[in-house]
Symmetry: C2
């Protein structure tokens, strides 16, 4: 029986998308300003579209290649269905479409914000945040819509829309993993390619424009100016959107996979009001409700006074954020108690089955919400203006760039301390409450407010762009002052948003990691096995090398930009006098091409390593279970090291940035007020140069690296794993055959199960008695189950065929 | 029966020490030069002694505190013997004594090298390398002497000098771990404290001297000059010596522990010509032979021509190094085939017992020698003058400090790629050849040439000092030219030496990690358990935070130095004119105090975290085995992340250093020769400022952090572990008692063994038949062993008491 609840998330997603459409129309109806403003805005819009269309071309090739690979896999591996290809393509298309909506609205909202800022700060906030809201709801709405729709389709296709067994549900979810893989692939392009784009354009514009030609930032005479502004949208809007789209989908998926294993642990089926799939539906339900809550949250973000300063704007955002977090907590309580059995059974590694009340699952969701809220404060502390770490970097700038760099590096490194303790505590606590299902639901609860988070995030670059347009179109100072207030708040939310993105990537990866282990059916991941330990090392190395490649990519792409800008300054007559027109599109094209080209190598590293680890040892005849464990070690290495390097790089970069910004208002160094242009400021600028690729390219790319690694693992899990629909019976051996007694043994190595069937036939009555001993070894503990059947031989054999879900191949007596 | 081979390593060590003494006397007899040279040299010598004596004071307190803690542990835990305290103290004293010898000879050799350089380069090399040889043999000789002597003492004490069983040998080796812990504790002070010292003095001297007062480096008017020169000895001589002393001892110890487990796997006893402990003696024998080989190697290091350049000197060092590596390979072959059984049995995780030929152990040692040789080339490639990565950093210096920094960071990060693949391959290969015993012997073989490596290492700072003395005492230019040749070669060997030190630390930690797992008797370390995974995260974070603390410590200590130098310039009349005498000792004191104070926090972090993880959960009643697994996860996290950060920081620092040095001879940038004093050079100097603490403080400290973490784990293993002398029988339950049948079950949870004893008494004859079923579950595989005894009840019960080493507590029938 199918439950109506399966359609609830879709309804919520559609509601969210309708609200998005309404909001979008409202924003588009706002005044887009006069000629020059409009012209600049159009340039940015067109540049963004140029990047998108170049990205889509490359993406199409990528999607086709991966689809073919997946199709081959689905042909070769019996448990992988070809529908995974369809899911993959739709995942990619949905994510790309969400990014498209976000980019378009962001590049349309910026100029309208500038126009509104001419008269009213509250209206400027309303418009810029409105643009962010459209972005947030687009991402969340499409993510939930796509995931839920495909779940329903596969649930109908593979299970006839009603519960059969966990094995069939595993196939549903495995196919669904294609959607998640598609979404995360787009994130690779948007986050990594976008990260390279934004910094290459920024550095290129600054090096030639500010340093060589001596013209100010955002000056329309600089051919790279438009590319620079496009970059803000490409990196901060589309990149962040695709990142969170990927996390959102992957988290819900992982929670569903683990929900399926809860049902398995409870005996293979449960009875509830939701067609027996309450634990699987719950994460989707939380995501669906989260959309509505986010809408409520965004409605609370407003200010009334035209004289408001940063604190009021920040307060408005905080109000919306906190209310949505609290509402999610309340709805988690309601949904958990409603949708889950009051008491569940969950298998705890090494501790066997335990009774877990639904309230404990609720506590796990609270852990997730706590992490989401606290990680932002931690990030804020290490990167916030006026905070101790920033003041220290400012002080260290007085002795030169060297000490400034050391201080920034040290700040980023030390910031891993509270962050990692927070994550470690969260893993521990949510696991203690409700096993890995708890960990995944903690992540789901945290991600429920994704739409709200994205709205807050996207509002920043929109305001930044609005300020740029005000500058380029030479508006009254009051306009820039107002956009600066929004921009300044946007800088803070950008940092905290990055913290949220890391936390989401970390928890998502853990959930995927847990799903991977259960999918493959391996007996845990034992790093005392040397090959697994070796892979842990290799996995730890990959984020470090990836970061270096990303940083080098920025350098290379920036150099191409520098040469193009120099060429235009040289070749276009009258460009410096404002009479010759710079070829903005050339610069946009160069950033676009260079960034997409330069992301190839890190991208290959991300995708190639897990595939090499999975398939090369296979050629040498290594057992798939041993490979699965090695790949698990690799995934753990990537996740641990990736999270560390993400925190380190993001926070160091953020800290350098704000240390530099501190000089704008002036800082007290050794008792003297020091301003822009001082030696200390120059040192701080050097620090910021190092920090830029850290915080905008390599740092955020770590999120994609770790999630994509774990997702690839999940998708190839069926090839390695032993949970396949037909149990692999590795050995069927007739141990003893006498006239009346047949002892048959089967050994299912994958599930660590040994089954011995002894059949005794009473020659007089013809009755057969079958004694079955099933010996399961889980984590070193062996449990023996005995069953007995009686009847005609045919009856008994028929009964034997489905003993507790384990298919026993009964050999006929020869 | 005791084998003479047990005394062989001691004999070799004593031979090495005698040769050291001869060499030392020879060096001391050389001409120590005239008045001014001698004066400066004496200042450096006294400064070094001042640091040592301050360090010893602190050390004494530390040793007393740890001894008390260890004593308490030995009282509380029955399997930890109080002799561990004695071993710990001696380990600390031996390592400190070795450092003392090295510091003294280094600070005496420098001036003699300067004096010799007045007339002859070959003689200058002979003296400076002679000083290095004294250092190398002092460290290696004392390490082998101490470790072997204590092994013999404990072997006599606990086993009466003949094989009893693996349990008793475990106690011997556990007690011996105290010696290793003592040695590594000294390394913490010498490497971390020394690393802070050397950079604080360096930065302090440069900032006020070169930058503020405008006087050249090594100018005798600078009060911090002596401290700077002392720092070279403290960091590069004593620090490196203590580091390798610790690795050396720990590696051999770990190999012995794993050798003991080989014997266990072979049935608990073997018969060979070495009293049945061949596999345990082998690592010591390799170390002993390695000393003699190193002596041969050092004898080959000489040049004949006074006109020789860097390549000849490097060639001489390479000759000595390669000959000793080849000799070690040959002697490993001889020792392995002689001392090991032709075929051994080793337990492979998840694969059960396997037959391993002694040749495979030899192959494992080759893997170690290969890693030691290749890692130096990798380091050389990423940090060597004229190599591609350095040239790239030089090019990137032309666009400013920011791009220089990014290029240096990226170089360090990318250098983790080949290094980690090398380590991962080595783990895999040596494990595939001969299990974790193979991994430990790979490390032992690599470490066999420690004396030679240290001689090469120590020769560098001696030559550096010799050059400084030549400068300060205003010698003829030819003297400085000759010492510069030696110094330049020394810079290369310093970088490759760091590579060797990391490789040794990495392999040592792995060997210790393996010893830890076997010591505790846990069933591997499964990172799919959430608490273990959480600790993997925490472990991964610690090296990052440690590095940041170490870098900040340099900054703080340098600031104190700056203030003192400023004060002296202000307060001492005539100091700049050379009429007033600077108070060198004040600066030395400040570096000393500051560095020892600043190393407290990182030291506490290193020691505190494993203790917290081990003991806090105990208070909450967590099972010791679960804690042991968590601690294992932590150790793995520290090792993986620590190795990565060590490679990253050392190579980035080395690369920046040589990028800066490239400007001295001039470099081609954008088609123009660029020299010292250019903007690009200034950018490179900034990079070097960042790189200095990387390569001399935080980078090398990682070695100590990972080894000490694993050693602490090993020392507390008995508290957590289940291998204790009396098997913990967790449950003795009389399952069924009827008149004639007694079924008793015991479950030894630690060894995953279940034993069921069924005794049937024949009432007629009084004879008892006991059927014993022992069910062992190792890594998910259960093996069942059945035994049967027959006799009177008393006889049977007596026989039952020692079934295959598992003590069964037989309950009397009540």
């Amino acid at each position: 029986m199918e439950s109506f609840m399966i359609y609830m998330p879709i309804a919520m997603a559609v509601l969210g998308l309708i609200y998005m459409w309404v909001k979008q129309s409202w924003v588009m109806k706002q005044n887009a300003g006069d000629g020059k403003m409009k012209e600049i805005s159009d340039h940015i819009y067109e540049g963004a579209l140029a990047f998108l269309s170049a990205e889509y071309k490359l993406l199409t090739i990528f999607v086709v290649v991966v689809s073919v690979l997946l199709a081959i896999v689905s042909i070769v591996v019996p448990t992988t269905h070809w529908l995974i290809v369809v899911a993959f393509i739709f995942g990619a298309v949905f994510s790309a479409f969400a990014g498209n909506i976000g980019m378009k609205i962001a590049t349309k909202t910026n100029v309208r914000t500038t126009q509104a800022a001419k008269t009213s700060l509250p209206q400027a906030l309303k418009i810029s945040f409105g643009g962010g809201t459209v972005m947030g709801l687009g991402v969340a709405g499409l993510a939930v819509l796509g995931l839920t729709a495909f779940f329903i389709i596969f649930f109908h296709t593979f299970m006839g829309a009603s519960w059969t067994n966990t094995m069939d549900m595993t196939i549903v979810l495995e196919t669904l993993a294609g959607f998640s893989l598609g979404a995360e692939s787009i994130a690779l392009f948007a986050r990594v390619g976008g990260g390279i784009y934004t910094k290459a354009a920024d550095v290129g514009a600054d090096l030639v424009g500010k340093v060589e030609a001596g013209i100010p930032e955002d000056d329309p005479r600089n051919p790279a100016t438009i590319a620079d502004n496009v970059g803000d949208n490409v990196g901060d809007v589309a990149g962040m959107g695709a990142d969170l789209f990927g996390s959102y989908v992957a988290t819900v998926l992982a929670a569903m996979v683990l929900g399926n294993y809860v049902i398995k642990d409870m005996g293979g089926a449960i009875t509830d009001a939701f067609g027996g799939i309450g634990p699987i539906l719950l994460p989707m339900a939380i995501a669906g409700v989260g959309i509505i809550i986010s809408i409520i949250g965004t409605m609370l973000v407003k200010i009334n006074s035209n004289e408001a300063k940063e604190d009021k704007v920040m307060g408005a955002l905080n109000l919306g954020n906190w209310v949505s977090i609290i509402l999610v907590a309340i709805s988690c309580f309601a949904l958990v108690t409603w949708m889950l059995p009051e008491t569940m059974k969950m298998e705890f590694f090494g501790e066997g089955l335990q009774d877990i009340s639904s309230m404990r699952v609720f506590y796990a969701t609270l852990v997730g919400l706590f992490v989401g809220a606290v990680i932002s404060s931690v990030t804020e502390f290490y990167t916030g203006l006026g905070k101790k770490p920033i003041l220290k970097i400012v002080q260290q700038s007085s002795t030169g760039a060297g000490t400034n760099i050391i201080a920034g590096l040290a700040t980023g490194m030390i910031s891993t301390f509270p962050s990692v303790l927070l994550f470690a505590g969260a893993i521990w606590a949510s696991y203690a409450f409700a096993g890995f299902y708890g960990v995944a639901l903690a992540a789901s609860a945290m991600m429920a407010t994704t739409a709200m988070q994205l709205a807050i995030d996207a509002f920043g670059p929109i305001s930044d762009n609005a300020g740029g347009i005000a500058e380029m179109s030479e508006q009254e100072p009051i306009v820039r002052e107002r956009t600066d207030i929004l921009d300044s708040v946007g800088n803070t939310t950008a940092a905290t948003g990055k913290g949220f993105a890391i936390a989401s990537a970390a928890l998502t990866s853990l959930a995927l990691f847990a799903a991977y282990v259960t999918f493959t059916g391996i007996d845990g991941i034992n790093i005392f096995k040397a090959p697994v330990l070796a892979m842990l090392f290799v996995g730890g190395m990959v984020p470090v090398v990836f970061s270096a490649l990303a940083m080098n990519a920025v350098g290379k792409a920036a150099m191409q930009m520098v040469q193009e800008v120099r060429r235009q300054f040289r070749d276009i007559p009258g460009i410096m006098e404002g009479t010759g027109k710079p070829q903005y599109d050339k610069c946009v094209e160069i950033s676009t091409q260079a960034s997409l080209k330069e992301m190839m190598l890190p991208g290959l590293l991300t995708i190639g390593f897990p595939l090499i680890i999975a398939f090369v040892p296979m050629l040498f005849g290594m057992s798939t279970l041993a490979i699965a464990e090695m790949l698990g070690g690799y995934m753990a290495g990537v996740t641990v090291s990736g999270v560390l390097w993400a925190i380190f790089q993001n926070n160091a970069g953020g800290a350098w940035d704000n240390a530099k910004k501190s000089f704008e208002a002036g800082v007290m160094i050794n008792g003297k007020m020091t301003y822009k242009g001082s030696d200390a400021h120059k040192a701080a600028v050097t620090g910021d140069t190092v920090g830029d690729p850290f915080k905008d390219t390599s740092g955020p790319s770590m999120n994609i690296l770790i999630k994509l690694t774990c997702l690839i693992g999940l998708v190839i899990a069926p090839i390695l794993g032993g949970h396949s629909a037909e149990t692999d019976i590795d050995e069927v051996e007739t141990i003893e055959v006498s006239e009346n007694v047949i002892i048959e043994g089967t050994q299912d190595l994958n599930n660590k199960t040994e089954t011995v069937v002894e059949m005794v036939k009473n020659d007089a009555t013809g009755e057969v008695v079958a004694n079955v001993e099933i010996r399961r070894t889980v984590n070193g503990e062996t449990t023996i189950e005995e069953k007995s059947f009686r009847g005609t031989e045919e009856e008994v054999r028929s009964q034997l065929k489905d003993v507790d879900g384990i298919k026993i191949k009964v050999k006929d007596k020869e």
